[in-house]
């Protein structure tokens, strides 16, 4: 391929075609929260199944601490490394190419699997609505799964501004729906039909004992998984050094509120055995909660909320996964063909197209909890990378050597707590899903060897280091 050895002069800015800088902090918020908010509408309740309702709440808050560390660390590094690819680009500059390749794959898989999970939930939702309106014999969910993925891919293909403005609107509606059901069911304004005391007594308080709390951390991540995706927008944000930390930290606060309210509403209305069974029981727990209240207005609102949350999330996932895939193509970590930008829409269009069939394979072929576990594991590997990344970043470039848009406080405390929480979560995944964990790591070991001994030969060495930084300490 002739273009792959083309050497563009780095000073020839006018000739190169990059992504478009059009986004503001609200879009960053919409991208971060939009991806994650679906976690309150589905998936988190597997944590209830793994340890009971109390365990799920404790896991929710511990995971909240974990993600606050993630957000702080990420904000500091990304306000300095402002390039599409997010953590991938960070790893490339701070740790090294093989780590970057792995991180890029974590991102692509975490997001593509999450996208598949969203599409599955959407299919289920349409099926439920059809049943409620009197349709007999069930529905073929596949056309709706395919349609969701195709429509969002098309939207992403057409441009980032419209994509994320769409996300902003539907995310806001989904968030308001959570607040509304909380207000309508809590004693503050509504009937006060919360039954926590009775539903969580006796055997239902901690069905698996303390081990259950540990085990619940596995799906506790799901309340927040994906917030770190805000960094993918770095090349498309107008002032990354300010907007990215602002949007990310505002996002984590939104999610802490939404996660706690969601737990409160759902645990107060459903027995834990039902709530915790996300396959046969509460697939969409907030929607189920609305059905229990018997208010058709709430059923509609939360139904729409669930629909919008899944769409917003899948939309953001396509955005993020394609940015990461594109960045790797641009550096020749993957075939250079993927590093193309659409000349009119300025989107990484080939990466977007390529990931469509991948998402379809998983959405149509695998059960929801497996897809979610695959996504969580990739996410978790990414969070394990972050503290290593942060410690090396501060060591190679201490605070006085390069200017950071945001400096996180109390270093290295957040990095150490993040590492500790990651270890707990590995153990939690090990309880019940040990095989997938080993299969997953096995996969990454094999591709790492493939990259180091084969693929890396196609990568230009010095060109990967694009930041205008001084030489790292100790090298």
């Amino acid at each position: 391929m002739a273009h792959s050895d083309m050497d563009v002069d780095h000073t020839a800015h006018g000739q190169s075609m990059g992504l478009l800088r059009v986004l503001g902090p609200a879009h960053v918020w919409a991208l971060g929260v939009g991806i994650v908010l679906v976690g309150e509408y589905m998936g988190w309740n597997f944590a209830v199944g793994k340890g009971g309702a109390y365990a799920a709440l404790i896991a929710c808050w511990f995971a909240g601490v974990l993600y606050s560390c993630v957000a702080m660390i990420d904000s500091e590094v990304t306000s300095t490394v402002a390039a599409a690819g997010g953590q991938y680009t960070q790893a490339k500059h701070i740790i090294g190419p093989l780590m970057a390749f792995n991180v890029g794959l974590y991102l692509v898989f975490a997001y593509t699997m999450l996208e598949a999970g969203n599409a599955i939930t959407l299919g289920f939702l349409v099926d439920t609505v059809a049943g409620m309106t009197g349709h007999e014999g069930g529905l073929d969910q596949r056309p709706f799964i395919v349609l969701a993925i195709m429509f969002l891919a098309w939207l992403n293909y057409r441009g980032v501004l419209a994509t994320l403005t769409f996300n902003l609107v539907i995310t806001a509606i989904a968030f308001v729906a959570i607040i509304t059901i909380f207000l309508a069911t809590s004693p503050l304004l509504g009937a006060g039909e919360m039954l926590h005391k009775d539903l969580m007594s006796g055997q239902a308080s901690l069905p698996y004992g303390w081990l259950g709390i540990l085990a619940a951390m596995h799906f506790g991540l799901w309340y927040y998984l994906g917030i770190e995706g805000t960094t993918q927008a770095a090349e498309e944000v107008r002032s990354p050094a300010r907007s990215l930390p602002f949007g990310t930290l505002a996002g984590i606060m939104t999610l802490l509120i939404a996660a706690t309210l969601t737990w409160y509403v759902c645990a107060g209305l459903m027995p834990w055995e039902y709530l915790g069974d996300g396959v046969n029981g509460a697939v969409a727990p907030l929607f189920s909660a609305a059905q229990i209240t018997g208010s058709s207005a709430l059923v509609w609102l939360l139904g729409i909320g669930t629909l919008f949350a899944t769409l917003a999330s899948a939309n953001g996932c396509i955005n993020d996964a394609s940015r990461a895939w594109f960045s790797m193509g641009r550096d020749h970590y993957l075939p250079a063909w993927f590093g193309a930008v659409h000349p009119v829409y300025r989107t990484p269009y080939r990466a977007i197209i390529f990931l469509v069939p991948i998402a379809l394979i998983f959405a149509l072929g695998a059960p929801l909890d497996q897809v979610i576990t695959f996504s969580i594991l990739s996410g978790l590997l990414g969070y394990t990378f972050m503290p290593i990344n942060m410690i090396m970043f501060r060591k190679k470039w201490p605070l006085d050597t390069i200017k950071r848009g945001y400096e996180h406080p109390l270093h290295p405390l957040p990095a150490i707590s993040l590492m500790a929480l990651c270890s707990v979560t590995y153990f939690a995944v090990f309880l019940g899903y040990g095989t997938q964990l080993i299969a997953m790591i096995g996969f990454y070991i094999v591709v790492s060897l493939w990259f180091h001994f084969w693929r890396y030969r196609f990568v230009k060495r010095a060109d990967q280091f694009t930041m205008p930084w001084p030489r790292p300490r100790g090298y």
Binding site: P97, G432, Y433, T435, A439
Partner: protein
């Protein structure tokens, strides 16, 4: 340090590389499923002639079950008694720890070798 000039990859080579990656990733998810090794083995623990009481459900819980469309204890039996099996052997835990730590150690060492090359080419030899 001499600038490293990467070889040009043929179109066929690019396609093969992509296929390799896709096969590996699909395999990582589906092989455990096909082998029936995928966890989440949440199995019902059967209770003879279940009643709400024998399943440990109080009246408030029963009322919620009814609202969810489970009229009697037998219909909710499988869901209520399903439990994960959290028993594990310390050996398998040790294997997991070794695999994860080994993976990260290997990756960081290889990365460091590659990184030194990048820095040397970008900033010149020290």
């Amino acid at each position: 340090m001499a600038r490293y000039i990467p070889p040009v990859q043929s179109k066929l080579g690019q396609v093969i590389d992509v296929i390799v990656l896709v096969v590996l990733s699909v395999g990582a998810l589906f092989v455990p499923l096909w082998l029936g090794l995928a966890g989440s083995a949440k199995l019902p623990v059967p209770v003879e002639n279940p009643t709400w009481e024998s399943l440990g459900q109080n009246p408030v819980m029963v009322a919620q079950w009814n609202k969810l469309g489970f009229p009697d204890a037998a219909s909710a039996h499988d869901m209520i008694t399903a439990r994960y099996d959290y028993s594990f052997s310390w050996i398998s835990l040790a294997v997991m720890v070794i695999v994860i730590v080994g993976y990260f150690v290997m990756m960081i060492r290889f990365s460091d070798i590659e990184y030194r090359e990048v820095i040397a080419e970008k900033f010149g030899e020290k």
